[in-house]
Amino acid sequence: YLLLGRWRKKHLTFRIMNLPSTLPPHTAQAALHQAFQYWSNVAPLTFQEVKAGRADIRLSFHGRQSLYCSNAFDGPGRVLAHADIPELGSVHFDEDEFWTEGTYRGVNLRIIAAHEVGHALGLGHSRYTQALMAPVYHGYQPHFKLHPDDVAGIQALYGKKIPVIRDEEEETEQPTVPPVPTEPSPMPDPCSSELDAMMLGPSGKTYAFKGDYVWTVSDSGRGPLFRVSALWKGLPGNLDAAVYSPRTQWIYFFKGDRVWRYVNFRMSPGFPKKLNKVEPNLDAALYWPFNKKVFLFKGSGYWQWDELAHTDFSSYPKPIKGLFTGVPNQPSAATSWQDGRLYFFKGKVYWRLNQQLRVEKGYPRNIADHWMHCHPQTVDTTPSGGDTTPSGTGTILDTTHSAIDTTLN
């Protein structure tokens, strides 16, 4: 391998500026996403797609003419694509190629994109003619994977990926049980239902789960209800807990003795898996940004889990009250929030904890009023941003929420 440069950070954004005309858009997007995943599977890199604005890596298609690239392409064949080395981030594909996926015909977009992303991450061409980073394209490979030289190169740049330590049996474990057909539950009323789970998800959206449904909540109101399985394919309803980790970009859902893992709305391979280090039928889960750990709750106990290191659970569960002062046992949901505070939900009320993990004055408060916008309220005149303590007049709209759009995209 040859190293041409490197990024000084390991979380990179990317933006797909346009797509080829020879593939359905979702197929082309999936191919480009997979191209990044080959690299994030073997190195401690995380990639996040942005749909607008600046991005570290920008993928686009152009032909013999281009307004923004002095390196014109040459029509079908010969040069397929090119890319800038870090930290420039341009990746260009020849729009005149017959880009394909899943066939020996044409040029496989996923493999070429993986090669060019390799350049954008700092790799030069490899002398191994079978390596992905070899200069010449060797055609479609149905079971494509990186060559050891590709892996050695990217790890020379960014280090090895810390494996998520799992027990041996877990490692080899295939998804143990088929998805349980769940009875379709009635559409819940966000104003009166006790929550199953609450999650501060990717891009700061807050998701509330009840039965087979999920909706977003924000300052500007509640989003429409969607079936959970319509967003997270393969996920059952009536969940026990949900948590998103910004550290790994993984979303975990817990139900019974199983855990599902997703990146955005795509299930990670090999999931769902069986829970075997913590008790089944959890009550709630949250991610605490201050120590970057995931906390799981059940009954009067909690587990603290480091996703990227081996966690010795022998001393767990520990008493919730020992760490989270003032929080009830058996919470129905929990989440951290952009204000750095933690929120626990149970029945119709919720508790807010400060950064010392102590319930704040004036709590619990009513969920329907402060989270679900269920009752007309006179917004308190307390200057926003201040600590809104209950006042004699009207009901205070909890100002901790940031304005985020309420519809799911």
């Binding site: 040859l2 390196n71 392409f73 064949g77 010969r78 040069v79 397929l80 694509a81 090119h82 890319a83 190629e97 040029v107 070429i112 090669h115 060019e116 350049h119 030069g124 061409h125 002398r127 003619t129 200069p135 010449v136 394209y137």
Partner: protein, 80 residues
């Protein structure tokens, strides 16, 4: 123009474009024969072709294969 000449020019262009031949900083592109031979040998070795230093059919065929537009670091002299 003699087809062989066109092919020779294309081959030179390829060797230049992908870093096997170093454009001389001064003067026109008339390369020393030994530079061209060395460039061809570097390309043939990196492509796992018989290393003849000559522009033979296998070498021409390989130069026509679809590839990435970035240079190759396989000629140690030009790489430096």
């Amino acid at each position: 123009r003699v087809p062989g000449l066109v092919e020779k020019e294309m081959a030179m262009e390829y060797l230049l474009q992908y870093g096997y031949l170093q454009k001389p900083l001064e003067g026109p592109n008339n390369f020393k024969p030994e530079d061209i031979t060395e460039a061809l040998r570097a390309f043939q070795e990196a492509s796992e072709l018989p290393v003849s230093g000559q522009l033979d059919d296998a070498t021409r065929a390989r130069m026509r294969q679809p590839r990435c537009g970035l240079e190759d670091p396989f000629n140690q002299k030009t790489l430096k």
